[in-house]
């Protein structure tokens, strides 16, 4: 059936019929094809047929280019989305009070946002009370606290204390920054649940935490 649909899509390219092309795609979707499958099982074979037709002289140069234009018109229907869908999970990100370093935070925050997490960046020099206030306001249960100095890293314990005082032991605090990478015990000492070592690590850890907190659907 996918093969027939691919042939049908190819014909719609050659016949310069974008409406028909979209119809073919919509039918395939209605038949249960995912976006990923649409590209691999439908669009790619249709393009292959187009290439074959040109190579064998079945269509001329002009028809080839016009068919490619129709293919271009439907790519948004078949190409997987570049940005991840919204996961509906808020992640608070900030640099600890009295710490103005922000590069690691900005990179991790940017990547988390790109991966579909609702990132709220509180900036640098964030007081523990500000983390709490924002968490209460947004319902966030995942915090990412960065600290690049030993003094500010040790002070992260204040974040856990503030949340604990309000009975918010349900909040997961992840920490990041040089001191935490250098001293594996420091994260536990300050009451953090995990250490983020760069953007990829942040992506992995946040996904795992979200799965634990909210289940597979939102991770």
């Amino acid at each position: 059936m996918a093969e027939e649909a691919a042939v049908s899509l190819y014909r719609s390219f050659v016949e310069k019929d974008p409406a028909r092309a979209i119809d073919v795609i919509e039918r395939a979707k209605a038949g249960g094809m995912t976006r990923e499958q649409l590209f691999g099982a439908l669009f790619v074979p249709a393009l292959t047929l187009l290439g074959q037709s040109w190579a064998e002289g079945g269509i001329d140069e002009l028809a080839f280019m016009q068919a490619a234009v129709v293919a271009e018109q439907v790519t948004s229907f078949v190409i997987p989305s570049a940005t991840a869908p919204d996961r509906g999970v808020v992640v608070l990100v900030g640099s600890m009070h009295r710490d103005t370093h922000s590069v690691a935070k900005d990179i991790a925050g940017g990547d988390l946002k790109e991966a579909g997490w609702r990132v709220i960046d509180l900036g640098a020099d964030v007081r523990p009370a500000d983390f709490l206030e924002k968490a209460e306001e947004t319902g966030a249960r995942i915090l990412l606290v960065f600290a690049e100095m030993t003094t500010t890293a040790r002070a992260v314990v204040g974040v856990r204390e503030v949340f604990a005082a309000e009975g918010r032991e349900d909040v997961v605090i992840l920490v990041g920054g040089g001191p935490f990478e250098a001293d594996r015990k420091l994260a536990r000492v300050v009451g953090a649940n995990g250490v983020v070592r760069g953007a990829e690590s942040a992506l992995r850890l946040v996904r795992r935490v979200a799965r634990d907190l909210f289940g597979e659907a939102r991770s």
Binding site: L47, T48, G51, Q52, A68, I79, D106, I107, G110, R197
Partner: protein
């Protein structure tokens, strides 16, 4: 007006230096310096030679003397700035030098690029961005400025904002197409040969001719040659790949993909087609994973070429697989330490993992190899010699 006469020792030193015989050149240059300690030519050449040997303190000393003898001695400024930058930790001084060089040679793009890199190293981020943007105003194709701006964007907002810059610089990279020509067997030497008067009868020869035409950027001629080969045999994967390449170069990505896919349906391990398909995919946001799959297969056929590693690494950056990107970039650098694109990519991967010092180091290495490759010292020296009259 003729150039200012230079001493015989200096002329010999220049000749030896251009041949790469640095030791002998230094000896001759030293004679020239002893004969006239205030000769800016001799001092600046000595600075260049010291720089070539990575003797940065000596280069700084000689360049400073050259500038004292002539404040418009552009090669001395270049040698001085590069020596400061390569030595490291002298960003304040190098900023001043690059400013001066930009005054002395206002259209020298590298001066602005280096100025930006010095600013960035000294944490003057806004000034760095301004310097790179000024470089791009002088030359919109200046790839290092594009990479530098991408790295700066990455520091502020993550990889997604940096990727467009990497891709744009990648498209301006002539060495990328070298991979394709390598895969189809078109060498620089072959491409320089005289073309036959009549088109060849043999299909393979036609395709080879088409490859040469493509190398010479005669894309229509290359497409005609591919078309002629396909008329004789429509299942010729090499001809299909060549045709696909010509469409790729004209940014007709769907046509390129269609022909590459057809070639791969006939010969699933056809490396030139994999290259075209991978690049066509990589130009589409959302197809990084597909492009990565294609480049990973291509690597099995051209693992000794740095470019497939770079192309794969860039896909991994798009997929947020930074440790894999790092591994691929390191492979590329091991194969070609002078691969500027890989150095900047590795810097990006290091930054995502919080390794700022390593990232800075890679940017500095990129600058080192890029300025060496440009042969900028000799360009400025020759212009300076010509201009001093």
């Amino acid at each position: 007006m003729s150039a200012e006469p230079r001493s015989p020792h200096l002329l010999v030193a220049e000749g030896l230096a251009r041949q790469g015989r640095v030791g002998a050149a230094v000896e001759e240059c030293w004679q020239a310096v002893q004969a006239d300690p205030d000769d800016p030519f001799a001092r600046s050449l000595m600075a260049g030679l010291m720089l070539a040997g990575d003797f940065y303190d000596e280069a700084i000393s000689e360049a400073t003397l050259a500038i004292e003898a002539d404040p418009d001695c552009s090669p001395a400024y270049l040698a001085l700035g590069l020596a400061y930058d390569r030595r490291g930790g002298m960003w304040d001084q190098s900023i001043l030098v690059w400013h001066e060089l930009a005054e002395v040679v206002p259209d020298l793009v590298t001066a602005r690029v280096q100025l930006g890199e010095a600013f960035a190293a000294a944490n003057f981020d806004e000034e760095a961005v301004e310097a790179w943007e000024a470089a791009l105003e002088l030359d919109p194709r200046e790839h290092r400025a594009i990479y530098d701006l991408a790295i700066a964007a990455l520091r502020r907002e993550g990889v997604a904002t940096a990727l467009p810059g990497f891709r744009k610089a990648g498209e301006l990279d002539p060495s990328q197409d070298e991979l394709f020509f390598d895969l189809i067997g078109v060498t620089r030497r072959l491409a320089a040969m005289k073309l036959p008067a009549d088109p060849p009868e043999d299909a393979a020869a036609r395709v080879r001719l088409g490859g040469v035409l493509a190398y010479r950027e005669d894309l229509f001629g290359a497409l005609d040659a591919a078309r002629a080969a396909l008329d004789a045999g429509p299942e010729d994967a090499d001809a299909l790949a060549l045709a696909a390449f010509t469409y790729l170069k004209q940014e007709a990505d769907n046509e390129a993909a269609a022909l590459a896919l057809r070639a791969l349906s006939l010969r699933p391990e056809h490396a030139p087609s994999m290259y075209v398909l991978g690049v066509a995919y990589s130009r589409r946001a959302g197809l990084d994973r597909h492009a990565a799959g294609v480049f990973a297969r291509l690597l099995q056929w051209s693992w000794a070429h740095p470019m497939p590693h770079v192309l794969l690494a860039e896909c991994y950056l798009g997929m947020q697989r930074y440790s894999k990107a790092e591994t691929s970039y390191r492979c590329a650098i091991e194969l070609d330490p002078a691969c500027v694109r890989a150095r900047f990519g590795l810097a990006a991967a290091c930054l995502t993992q919080g390794r700022h010092a390593e990232a800075s180091w890679e940017v500095r290495r990129a600058a080192y190899y890029d300025t060496e490759r440009e042969g900028l010292f000799w360009k400025l020296y020759d212009a300076y010699v010509e201009g001093r009259s």
